[in-house]
């Protein structure tokens, strides 16, 4: 299990920030030649919006990301819950 998956499982997911970005913030300037690493969840939100043909206004993104973080943390509570491969999903379709 990845470190992020473990933290998600504990419901303590925090977006990762590269040390470079932290250092650059602390000094108030960017480290030469190395742009700050973007939080992967920010990239995911942008990519998912693109895939869904949703035009996200910049002001919405922070709240969307926060909601997605909460939802992913909750998903992590059951994502690894052991179930057999032939476990049937709850809704059953009848032809």
């Amino acid at each position: 299990m990845t470190k992020q998956a473990k933290s998600l499982r504990k419901g303590k997911f925090k977006p990762s920030r590269a040390p470079v970005a932290k250092a650059s913030r602390a000094k108030g300037r960017r480290v030469k030649g190395k742009p700050p690493r973007r939080d992967p969840l920010d990239s995911f939100v942008d990519a998912a919006a693109h895939a869904l043909d949703l035009k996200l206004e910049p002001a919405w993104k922070s709240a969307v990301k926060t909601n997605l973080e909460v939802t992913l943390a909750l998903a992590a509570l059951f994502a690894d819950f052991p179930l057999p491969d032939d476990a049937e999903p709850a809704p059953v379709f009848s032809a």
Binding site: F44, V45, A48, A49, L52, D53, L54, K55, L56, E57, W60, A63, V64, K65, T66, N67, L68, V70, T71, L72, L74, A75, L77, F78, A79, F81, L83, A87, E88, P89, A90, P91
Partner: protein, 466 residues
């Protein structure tokens, strides 16, 4: 008779035997709405003309010597996600104002009216039912009649306020994760979320197809049974509605709770509960002589899975509107729906698989008990506008967490009655949870508690509120 606080059963009896007329009852209800809804903000539409015509028709039936229905002349109102012929079905939104007016009533409205009830209007709700607060950025917050600075709970907020405020004796709500049970608890009234598939949802605006239920909110267990019985029966227009015969519960109420095996939900359902929620549960358990405790396995995961399914299905439902009219949503709802649309499908499929597993574990418990008691909400009504509260030492958003005790139950479609414990200054409800299709068990227990005086809908002082 004081129809402001009369039960539906009392109103119907008075109309049937001529002590009052349906027209007089309906006029009084319309006057109360005109007087008090400026404060309570429960109604988004009042169908006065239709109501007076229906009342006149009922009185004419009686004059002709016809037998009247069990709800003759009883005013009722519905959350504005139920179709009402001639009105656009708002579902709490600004966007739906542009919908064409509904061409017919929701099935359950037609069924209540077939028993003589009289529709007087449509009720405020959280936008698209994605809400536990009763707040609405477009139409204003529904206000709790016990303290109008406080939330009704949601999303059936207007339903809770209208019944608790004495505007109507019966309101209909919908419950996907707790939207009948949360307002019933915070407003101090009775609510029934029936078994998934028991009551038709046809001609209502959906939220989460695999979790949506409809049901009544009222001020007595007798009324709960009468309204529920009137709405039962298969409906071809709702593919989920079960092919079961009407199983009337009103005749069974007096059987009481004797002989029923009842337990208190332990573990997840005790963590985070406020002192009032714990005290309400203890009072109900003591009145029933219940000391046995039982744990619903993996309830925390069940709540999480319900949350994920809700976000995903809700996001999918509204994706087109989010693309076209994102700015017209309540921002708090929009941002949750967008996030929901982005959830990886693997999580949703796993949630649905886990749901079946959880259902099997919980159903096995019903071999040993007939009903389970649990808090309905973690606390009494928060203040309108309150964003967060403390649960078990952790600060959490109110909007998403008022339903932490209701979500693991509706997740597997179990029938639940919320019974109000009349604490002062604010009431709080207890869930009485039964096995699928055993609404009668939950209602019998609630009725026994009501007769013992343990639970009751108490009358707020609306004059004080104004």
């Amino acid at each position: 008779m004081d129809t402001a606080w009369a039960h539906a059963s009392e109103i119907a009896a008075a109309v049937c035997d001529g002590r009052t007329s349906a027209a007089a009852v309906v006029r009084a209800a319309l006057a109360r709405i005109a007087n008090h809804d400026r404060v309570l903000n429960a109604f988004t539409a009042v169908t006065a003309e239709r109501a007076l015509a229906k009342a006149a028709a009922i009185d004419a039936e009686r004059a002709r010597g016809r037998r009247l229905g069990a709800l003759a002349g009883v005013p009722f109102a519905v959350k504005n996600l139920f179709d009402i012929a001639g009105l656009p079905t708002l579902a709490g939104s600004k966007i739906n104002r542009d919908r064409a007016p509904a061409t017919r009533d929701a099935t359950v409205i037609a069924r209540l009216e077939a028993h003589g009830a009289v529709l007087v209007g449509a009720l405020n709700m959280g936008e698209y039912a994605y809400d536990f607060t009763g707040e609405n950025v477009h139409y204003g917050a529904s206000r709790n009649p016990h303290d109008v600075s406080r939330m009704t709970g949601g999303s059936s907020g207007g339903s809770g306020g209208a019944v608790a405020g004495g505007l109507v004796p019966i309101a209909l709500g919908s419950d996907t994760n707790g939207s009948i049970r949360v307002p019933a608890s915070l407003c101090g009234i009775f609510g029934l979320k029936p078994t998934y598939g028991r009551l038709s949802r046809a001609h209502t605006f959906p939220f989460v197809a695999s979790l949506d239920h409809v049901g009544p909110l009222v001020r007595s267990t007798r009324d709960l049974a009468l309204a529920y019985d009137a709405m039962q029966g298969h409906d071809d227009d709702d593919p989920v509605c079960a092919r079961r015969p009407v199983e009337a519960v009103a005749p069974l109420l007096e059987r009481g709770s004797a002989g029923l095996r009842i337990a208190i939900a332990d573990g997840y359902f005790r963590a985070g509960a406020s002192a009032q929620a714990q005290a309400a549960l203890a009072r109900v358990a003591a009145a029933l002589g219940v000391t046995n405790e039982i744990e619903l396995p993996e309830a925390k995961r069940a709540r999480a899975a319900a949350y994920v399914i809700t976000a995903s299905e809700g996001g999918a439902l509204h994706l087109g509107r989010l693309r076209a009219r994102g700015r017209d949503f309540d921002p708090a709802v929009r941002d949750r729906l967008i996030a929901g649309a982005m959830i990886p499908a693997a999580h949703v499929v796993k949630a649905q698989k886990f749901r079946r597993w959880y259902r099997e574990q919980v159903l096995a418990l019903f071999a040993h008990v007939d009903a389970v008691l649990a808090p309905a909400t973690p606390c009494t009504a928060p203040a309108i506008g309150q964003q967060t509260f403390m649960l078990d030492g952790v600060e959490l958003p109110v909007r998403a967490n008022l339903g932490i005790y209701t979500q693991p139950i509706s997740f597997i479609g179990l029938p639940v009655v919320v019974a109000p414990v009349p604490f002062q200054p604010l009431p709080i409800g207890v869930q009485i949870i039964a096995a699928p299709w055993r609404e009668d068990v939950a209602l019998r227990i609630a009725h026994a508690l009501e007769r013992a005086g343990t639970v009751a809908a108490t009358r707020p002082s609306l004059e004080r509120a104004e």
